[in-house]
Symmetry: none
Subunit: 214 residues, 4 copies
């Protein structure tokens, strides 16, 4: 007697999940190029053939990872956007991003690595591009937050915020031990997530520093 449709579906999903998890582990650990399909199959405890039953090839495994990442990031932004006021929203972003990298630096490292792939690497460029596009989309949302916050030049402010945030995360992946996570978070928050901030500093600001213009 054959298995029921549902049971098969369950088995399929479980296998796909197992493979995907194995790929993710290895890609993050050893990198995309350094991981062979054989490695993935072995890690997932299945045969190469089965892997190909579920995924078209190595590239599709990466595609799935990228897709999931995009959804993950989008979810964070949506949660942030749903918060009542822009201060909380930005705080949420800072905390979420930094905590996430803190818990799992290799993951951020992996995606940053992917995003910095040379544009002419025909295998990876597409995924790099996808991640970049998602970043752009987030950036738009962020700009609105700074607008609501009353920033004089919300775009510039948002860019500056993103730079500081990603720079911080980048550092975290490189100097894992002893990184003053909390302090950096606090600084980001006091710098960017305070309503009064710009107004306060406005009185001292200089003409050539538009985002902090008086």
């Amino acid at each position: 007697m054959p298995r029921t449709k549902e049971e098969n579906e369950r088995i399929r999903q479980a296998a796909k999940e197992k493979i995907h998890a194995a790929a993710m582990t290895l890609f993050i650990q050893k990198g995309y190029h350094a991981t062979s399909i054989d490695d993935v199959a072995k890690q997932a405890n299945i045969s190469k053939g089965l892997l190909y039953n579920y995924y078209k090839g190595k590239e599709e495994l990466l595609a799935v990872m990228v897709q999931l990442r995009i959804e993950e990031v989008r979810a964070v932004m949506e949660t942030a956007a749903s918060l009542a006021n822009p201060m909380d929203q930005l705080c949420y972003i800072v905390n979420g991003a930094i905590d996430h990298v803190h818990r799992n630096p290799a993951v951020y490292r992996f995606y940053l690595n992917l995003q910095t792939q040379p544009e002419n690497d025909h295998v990876l460029a597409a995924y790099s591009e996808q991640l970049n596009q998602e970043s752009s989309r987030q950036f738009e949302v962020q700009c609105q937050m700074f607008e609501r916050l009353g920033a004089k030049e919300p775009k510039l402010r948002s860019l500056s915020f993103s730079a500081a945030l990603h720079g911080t995360m980048q550092m975290m992946t490189m100097y894992t031990k002893g990184f003053p996570v909390e302090q950096m978070k606090q600084q980001m928050i006091s710098e960017y997530c305070a309503l009064s901030h710009e107004t306060d500093r406005g009185s001292h600001s200089r003409k050539d520093s538009p985002s902090k213009a008086p």
Copy 2:
């Protein structure tokens, strides 16, 4: 008649230089993995065999690039360190770094990619590590600059500066067109390269933001 020793040496150096330039061009353009030795030899207009005469293999070509990068960065830091006052020093760093990325985003992108290589990629990890170590060294020097500047928490300040700087450069490699380079530079400068800055802002700082504590 045979060439003189000097001439031979000159020829060797020229050849090595040609090869190295070819490798650099291609690695940056297509990435390390996507570039084959054949590609490099062709780009350098020499034979594969000759390439192996000068370099032990593909990896050594990368090693040379990393070495040169380290020297380049070190030179910038030394020049900066030689300037009279910390404000100028930091200004010099900001301008140098950002202008450099602005002129050639792919180069920064390449090295950032290398630096974010997974730690278990046995081929690339060593070079990634080297770059990271050099960054650490720079960081020490930077800390001294902030110390001389009178920063209350020079280490934290330096870290924050580095984060902002690298974050900015990272963004530049991803959104090349229309990036407000000058504005971002000005902001970095007004934020970090002013003596009065911390003092000024000290009066508004909050307890939970240690780096800006009075």
Copy 3:
């Protein structure tokens, strides 16, 4: 309640037939090598597993096709042989063969392809051989027809007839459109299926053409 023996058998036969038809369609369409077991199962709307329940493997599907072909050809020859006079017999063969190819060139093409399989292809050679043997058997029967027809050298005449017939069919599979089917048929018939023929032409025949010697 369980099915009766007969019903079971009926189901089995129906399934086998379905599978075999699917295989035949695909083999003829795409060729034996280019058709996968998966393709066949899908075309037959059954599972791979069931296919293996009925047939030992891909090769057996081919064996069945070959067997059926042999029976088909044999039936034609038997019908022909049952006709009253050799003229009708040969006419029947010509008409039957050419019409069949005309209606379905791909089928003849397929079997011709199989028959021209290199002898050392261990998978297909056996089937190629079987078809050839059947051809030999037919040839014997044909020879008798030419004998009854009064041909001077029945074997040679039969060979010539077979060559002309198979040559015509071969051409038909290669130039489907615009092939002068009826004219070719008529020519074959007037050349080979007339009692008077050889006698008639005998008067002009030359010494070096033994089969047409008076």
Copy 4:
């Protein structure tokens, strides 16, 4: 010291020839599908890698064979066409074709096998098509020969001739031993390569046999 350009070229040509010969031997012996690249390399006594240095893949080896075949066939037709009178031309074709198959039945068998490849086999169809096109081209030339010979319906006559010739060759590949080669050749010649032929037989021809109509 490197080899001279010429020497390299010689080496390259020799290797290509060796590979091509090996491929040809095996393809003819075991068939295209049953021959692996490994087989070819082994037969040629070289490494797989070298094979790929010279040929893009298995398919290109086939392409070369097809190309050579086309040239070979074309050369025969050109020589034939250069003969003084159509009788000699057709004689030359008959003798050339049949002798060739007689000496090497497997070769004709191979190309016939290729030409009868199912049209939907995407790998082989293109080559099958090429051979067919070349056959068409030859057919045109042949028609002119029959025209010069004064045939009433040169096209039909040419088709009939081709059918008889290819049919004969087909038979030869299937019943190698004891095939009455010379007799068949003589018959073809007396049937098709005689000026008087059609006129002679014209008196007996029947209405329904257009190519032999008076």
